[in-house]
């Protein structure tokens, strides 16, 4: 960024040129550093990797032919689709809810704050499995949902079972649960944004909503995105809980195949490979999103991919250049 004018001549003052007592030393001639330990470690890792690959390939228990055979059968694809669909919808619900709850948690309103805290306490505490079972079988508890005068006559009512389809139950169960976790993540992110930002926005006459969405949230995103990535990966796998309400995701699909064929290991491998493929794609996607929200956060906009992964926060007050 800074370029020192190349025409600056080295007009050194004389008295510092008086030779020192020792012979002239120049570290430019230093022996290049050797890292014997690093080479040993690399070798060890290489051998271990070779052994692992050797085992993966040669061990008959993996039955790679079976893995290949099932890898993109239609039923696996359908399970994968359910997994992806549920992950996307439940995460969307969770993120929206999480932002709302986080804002409530930080609100000055006593009621909102307590309700949000209660929600988070409850939904983090109750296992998602139980929540799914509850939502799906709510009609066992409440055969119909009605709007009316409390403890009095009803005006409108619906059959609970008609109202709550399996998909809706899955979205409610996973999404409401996720909302509680996301709320804590978003709250952390919001708190990490300097209060001066809010004040600057207010001083410009921005409304609270605008301040949140244009000023605070975009800056909080840098701290929200990485843990949200973990949550997405978690959700990807948590969707397998929906098998309890007769939906079949990727993991459950392979389980039901090996329930029939008893080929446990290769079919679990099918699921693992798919999960690894999806998480790899997510990983790349996440680093792009992180890069987007990191814009303006460093003096030098990162260019290399590796830099994106290693953002360090710099003190706010920038250094300054004066042309010489």
């Amino acid at each position: 960024m800074t370029t020192v004018a190349p025409n600056a001549p080295a007009a050194r003052a004389g008295d510092d040129r008086v030779a020192g007592p020792g012979e002239p030393v120049d570290v430019a001639h230093a022996v290049p550093q050797r890292h014997p330990l690093q080479w040993v470690a690399t070798a060890v890792v290489a051998v271990l990797a070779a052994q692992l690959i050797h085992m993966l390939v040669t061990n008959p228990n993996f039955e790679w032919d079976v893995v290949l055979r099932y890898f993109n059968t239609e039923s696996v694809a359908r399970g994968l689709w359910t997994t992806l669909k549920l992950t996307v919808i439940a995460m969307a619900v969770g993120i929206v809810l999480g932002v709302l709850l986080a804002v409530c948690r930080l609100s000055s309103n006593w009621l909102l704050r307590s309700l949000a805290a209660l929600y988070i306490w409850f939904f983090r505490g109750v296992p998602a499995l139980v929540q799914l079972i509850f939502w799906f079988n709510m009609s066992a508890l409440m055969p119909r949902v009605s709007i009316g005068i409390p403890f009095g006559p009803e005006f409108v009512h619906w059959e609970t079972n008609a109202l709550i389809t399996p998909l809706l139950a899955a979205i409610l169960g996973l999404g409401l649960n996720e909302g509680a976790y996301m709320a804590e993540i978003v709250r952390g992110g919001l708190m990490s944004v300097d209060q001066g930002q809010t004040e600057a926005a207010q001083a410009l006459g921005m409304s609270r909503t605008r301040t949140l969405f244009r000023v605070v949230l975009p800056q909080a995103m840098r701290f929200i995105v990485p843990p949200t990535g973990s949550q997405v990966i978690n959700m990807l796998k948590a969707t397998s809980l929906v098998s309890v309400i007769a939906l079949s995701d990727l993991l459950y699909t392979v389980q039901s195949i090996y329930n029939r064929t008893f080929q446990t290991i290769p079919l679990l491998l099918v699921a693992c490979v798919w999960y690894l493929v999806i998480t790899s794609i997510l990983y790349v996607g996440q680093s792009f999103i992180e890069r987007h929200y990191a814009r303006g956060s460093k003096r030098n906009t990162p260019t290399r991919y590796r830099d994106v992964l290693r953002i360090r926060r710099k003190p706010v007050v920038a250094k300054v250049e004066v042309p010489s």
Binding site: M1, D194, G196, Q197, E199, A200, A201, Q202, A203, L204, G205, M206, S207, R208, R210, R214, V215, P218, Q219, Y293, R295, G296, S297, K298, R299, N300, T301, K314, V316, V317, A318, K319, V320, E321, V322
Partner: protein, 264 residues
Amino acid sequence: MTTVGQPLVSARGVRKQFGPLQVLKGVDLDVHPGEVVVILGPSGSGKSTFLRCVNHLERIDAGSITVDGELVGYEQRGGRIHRLPERRIARTRRQIGMVFQHFNLFPHLTVLGNVIEAPVGVLREPKAEVVERARALLDKVGLADKADSYPRQLSGGQQQRVAIARALAMRPKLMLFDEPTSALDPELVGEVLGTMRDLAADGLTMVVVTHEISFAREVADRVVFMDGGTIVESGTPAEVLDRPANPRTRAFLARFLPAGQSAA
């Protein structure tokens, strides 16, 4: 330049308390249109708090502040005083520009984005028009070529000038500056003071909290000395800086003079 007529800012008996701590103990101050008022005072005397009360970043406990004849943060209705809702307060704030000590630029927006954000998003002015005005303002503060940089890529002095342009883009009637140069390296102070000098020359009404005595002497119409939550002394720069009546003012000013030089 102390104008007679309706003052732009009128503070009367402003009090503000943080928990047990009485920070403002009845501040009275009038600022007339076109006037430049510099507030001096030791740390903790309530200078920042007072400025923040003027645009209602802090709610005052007693007294009143009006800007352009309108009560800030409150409304008289049916003979009684009611708090304004957040939305109405935001409307008042749009008339008042504020420049903070730590700049508080939006780091995720470019320089141009910072300047146009509020006019486009809050005043809902057409974007093309605002961009044109923003470029003119950036030109005025000497940063025309930095429009597409991000704040962190600028020096402190440049950032502070962007903050000034951002506030000016709202065409405020009044500008508040809270120690706009004290987070800057000594080398960069000059840039920002220069910009402020130009604004004063343009006739903008300004209230400036600063420690730059020479700036106060040169630019201020009036210098106000605050201490312990009240205004202790007020008058022309010559009166307050060179012939301070109050012993505390004198003690304070002594710190800012080169050693060996007396306060005359």
